[in-house]
Subunit: 579 residues, 2 copies
């Protein structure tokens, strides 16, 4: 897996070569972040020719290891102005890995106003005109149909939706999942970067791919087995997530008083039963949605957390129906009808926007008077307008920071212009440090302190106290950067934090795959080096510690029921990255 | 003039005391910028209780010196996130000075959702409920009428228009001018800060004011006479500006190839005759607008550059009808009808937005497909929608940076999120350095290199060459910071740069006013110290040299007719503030 492909959209040249020596041993986020830091001008405009978009499977992608099918996409973010790694399921990563492609880079920018499709197969990359019928606001579900019909049902697809075509700051990159539906590299507006390069879609056909070679097949199989065992044994990955999906967190966070409600004015709601994972599961089961309850976002997933939500007639509405979306619309925007939320989730996938930033934008817009509180129908209409786009569609598709600006709000829940997700930083202080300091802008996945603060995974740190949070956020950010480089789904963290054999099996798999002899220390060193590269890029782009701060209102407004405030000093926050 | 008044809108307390010792000798921008740097938390949200808004007349305000009636308003800017000094005419500055008020500070923020009027007179400041009829989108012209009827025709008024009430990023603070029309502290969204503090208006009544005491009246009168002579002698302040207003620059910049056209795609237009100062003057003269052609923005102005533009029936439409507005709408947005532009200018004054940021936003929105190119009627409708505000009104009132984001544009002419005004930095390189490096965000007034690059005032530096520009921008920024502290209109710079007696007279007036013995070196030192305080604030707020850059497209797109590009290196740009 050492092919390094560069597609220059200015010249339409494609260059396929060996990966540069300096990237030996790097994959996934380690590769995308180092590449962006090496090659992207930090002060460039994210939508200009100097930005570069890189797709990279992880170290274990393409193997039979459970959960190894995640893809990293990197660039300078149009939403935050920082470096960005956005991580997705789907079928792309494994196909790239099996074809021996370590990375695909899209650089430059066409002068002509015309969209293209990049067709990737064992013969290389061809740049074709995008079919007219998928342009100009065509929804992603329809576009996937058109592209699958044209290129074959088995191809992998990455897509700039309407929002990406229009280069809106919340545009995601949508990926075809194993069933032909949608997964997303959601955060940071990388779909706008794809759109700026006039690439409507990437289509990948792995016919004839040699597949991945294992240096030590026996050792790999043994480790993979031990790894899978850890996943199935752990209560979070073995029971809670498979049964209820991530939406299992509604009741847990509500109980903890850390479920942000009505644009972060409280940490608990009374209507949690209407939107909880238990209710979602019961609804899906009762409606008998196409015979499915849940599925995996990529082949080889054994957690299968992605819920398959049907309408009242049992017909598919949406999947990848995550806790963060249900929280943002259901609790933060007070939309109390799970069907309404499901249709909005589908609409967001269809127009191709980050479900977190846009859903938080909806709640923020409600505070700003742009939408009525709790109105699911009005929200659905607003989301659909992104495909046109109307001025309202542009505002909502601009994301939470833009909504805050045009509504003149003091209470705008963003860090580095990216929306704060589903865990209140006042009541769960560890995650607040992650929001503040991660190079990505507010992002729970980059150091998921909920694990230890709430789920008691990897030990326990009292969520309401400051003690131990700096170390927790720091250690989880380091570990996460490493995990994001393996191609592994981040949820493996629950199992490897609690089960030493699981962690060892992960390292053993990497060693067996490549014939290495890495240790736990090497994994930590990798994580640190990734974070340092990301911070270096951000510093050169103009970010300082002054940007590593939560919105001020968290300092002044106590969050019921605990009435906690955000009370870390700047100096304490800055300790997170003191390593 | 040493009263220092603090109005706390959280507690409704008013404290009037002597100005702190450290502010001795500081006024205008020197005072507002030092105060903001001293007291405003750099990382605070501009619309929160930790921001403070300060109004300060200049060193010479309240005296009989020509051009001394300008007011400085300072705060952290909601538009740029930087420190901001916004400078205005009107009657406020002289009244404050005559009442002995060195500064008025508004701090805190009410919890209740209710607007107030601050009534300032010789008895102090009272906080009154704002009249209901001037709230909820009432235009500034009507609000001025209501307030003048209530408080008397002679009071000075500062006003948050509809945009300020809604806290839009381009909201200005509108001031009553001597005729009861509107002047604005335009740039940087300080009207949104006023609106966030729930102050709809400030009303100042100087009945019984003691007036300004001169330490050396004879010397003052002699100096003031010499100063006035310099102004009337210089061709710019004595002839061009009085005759044609600032719009005289249309033909001059067009000839120079530095008049940005169609969202900065060229530096020259073919329809300059339709919008030039000569045409404006002929139109006004022909229509016989209320018997006026031009007037001063404050009492004591002898330049009288503000044009008094009437409709076809000779009825007043707008005044303060500046080159930058005519340029942005007429050349940059290609609206070729001067009447259309005049009505849009009036509408911007009426809703209370910065005419530069919003007019450039209009041109940018045309590139982004939100408005049709050159359509004055559609633009007028969009501006009026700011008073409602509709989603389109919010976008346009959000300013150029927001328009660029929601339209996914690469070509967004802003620095630090503030719109670049009417002089192309590729063809006039000195002004480009000012845009890039001033602590204010793109602002021509903070170091007006056009003077020397184009008008050959203060010498000549070839606009198309890099040589000499760093020193020019640096020196003008230093001098401007000092002038902005005197209460003097910046246009005096033309005369004092060319006529040594004019400069000496300015220093002599300050010395005679206060009984000092300042020299030219002291003026330079003052200018430098102001800029350093402003940079210190910005650095603590998270700004670095990486923010001192022009939009990337200026580096790649040659600007006809000279086909010049922006070619300063980062290192060269950073030399401007190396002092």
């Amino acid at each position: 897996m050492n092919k390094f492909i560069r597609v220059n959209m200015t010249t339409k040249e494609v260059v396929t070569g060996e990966a540069p020596e300096k990237y030996a041993g790097l994959a996934g986020r380690a590769l995308t972040s180092n590449f962006v830091n090496d090659e992207v001008k930090p002060t460039c405009h994210p939508l200009g020719k100097n930005n570069k978009l890189i797709f990279a499977p992880g170290l274990l992608s393409g193997t039979s290891a459970s959960q190894s099918g995640r893809l990293s996409v990197g660039a300078k973010s149009p939403l935050t102005g920082t470096i960005k790694e956005s991580n997705t399921g789907g079928t792309f990563s494994q196909k790239m890995a099996k074809m021996g492609i370590k990375a695909l880079v899209i650089e430059g920018m066409p002068e002509e106003d015309k969209f293209y499709v990049l067709k990737i197969d064992m013969n290389g990359v061809t740049i074709e005109d995008a079919p007219a019928e998928i342009l100009g606001g065509c929804g992603n579900y329809e576009a996937l149909k058109v592209l699958s019909a044209k290129y074959g049902a088995k191809v992998g697809i990455a897509l700039a939706g309407p929002a990406g075509e229009y280069r809106l700051p919340t545009a995601n990159i949508s990926f075809k999942d194993p069933e032909g539906n949608i997964r997303s590299a959601g955060r940071g507006g990388l779909g706008a970067v794809l759109g700026s390069k006039k690439v409507k879609a990437l289509v990948i056909d792995d016919t004839g791919a040699p597949g991945v070679t294992l240096a030590k097949p026996e050792e790999f199989r043994a480790a993979a087995k031990a790894f899978a065992k850890a996943l199935t044994t752990h209560p979070v990955t073995g029971q809670a997530l498979p049964a209820y999906g991530t939406d299992v967190l509604v009741n847990i966070l509500n109980e903890a008083g850390g479920l942000p409600a009505k644009n972060f004015t409280a940490g608990r709601i009374g209507w949690n039963d209407k939107i909880s994972g238990e209710t979602m599961n019961a609804t899906i089961t009762e409606r008998g949605g196409d015979g499915k309850v849940s599925h995996g976002c990529h082949a080889g997933c054994i957690i299968r957390c992605s819920q398959w939500y049907p309408d009242k007639d049992g017909k598919y509405v949406t999947s990848g129906f995550e806790y963060e979306t249900v929280w943002a619309l259901g609790a933060d925007a007070c939309i109390q009808d799970l069907d309404d939320i499901a249709y909005i989730d589908r609409a967001m996938d269809d127009v191709g926007v980050d479900a977190i930033d846009v859903s938080v934008a909806v709640a923020t817009a409600m505070e700003g008077g742009l939408l009525p509180w709790g109105d699911g129908k009005a929200t659905l209409e607003a989301i659909k307008q992104i495909a046109i786009p109307t001025p309202l569609g542009r505002i909502i598709g601009g994301g939470t920071a833009i909504v805050g600006k045009v509504c003149g709000l003091f209470r705008t829940p963003v860090v580095k212009d990216q929306a704060i997700p589903a865990y209140d930083p006042r009541a769960i202080k560890g995650i607040g440090l992650t929001y503040a300091t991660t190079p990505m802008g507010a992002d729970h996945t980059s150091g998921y302190c909920i694990a230890t603060n709430i789920l008691k995974v990897g030990g326990y740190v009292d969520p309401l106290k400051k003690e131990g949070q700096v170390e927790l956020s720091r250690n989880l950010q380091i570990a996460t950067a490493a995990v994001d480089s393996t191609g592994m789904c981040l949820f493996i963290a629950f199992a490897i934090l609690d089960i030493p054999e699981g962690f060892n099996a992960l390292v053993d798999m990497i060693n067996a795959r490549y014939g290495l002899s890495l240790t736990a220390d090497d994994v930590t060193a990798l994580g640190k080096s990734i974070l340092k590269a990301e911070r270096a890029f951000n510093a050169a782009a103009g970010f300082t510690n002054a940007h590593d701060r939560l919105p001020e209102f968290f300092e002044y407004e106590p969050c019921p029921p605990h009435n906690a405030v955000w009370d870390f000093t700047p100096e304490e926050i800055d300790e997170v990255f003191n390593f």
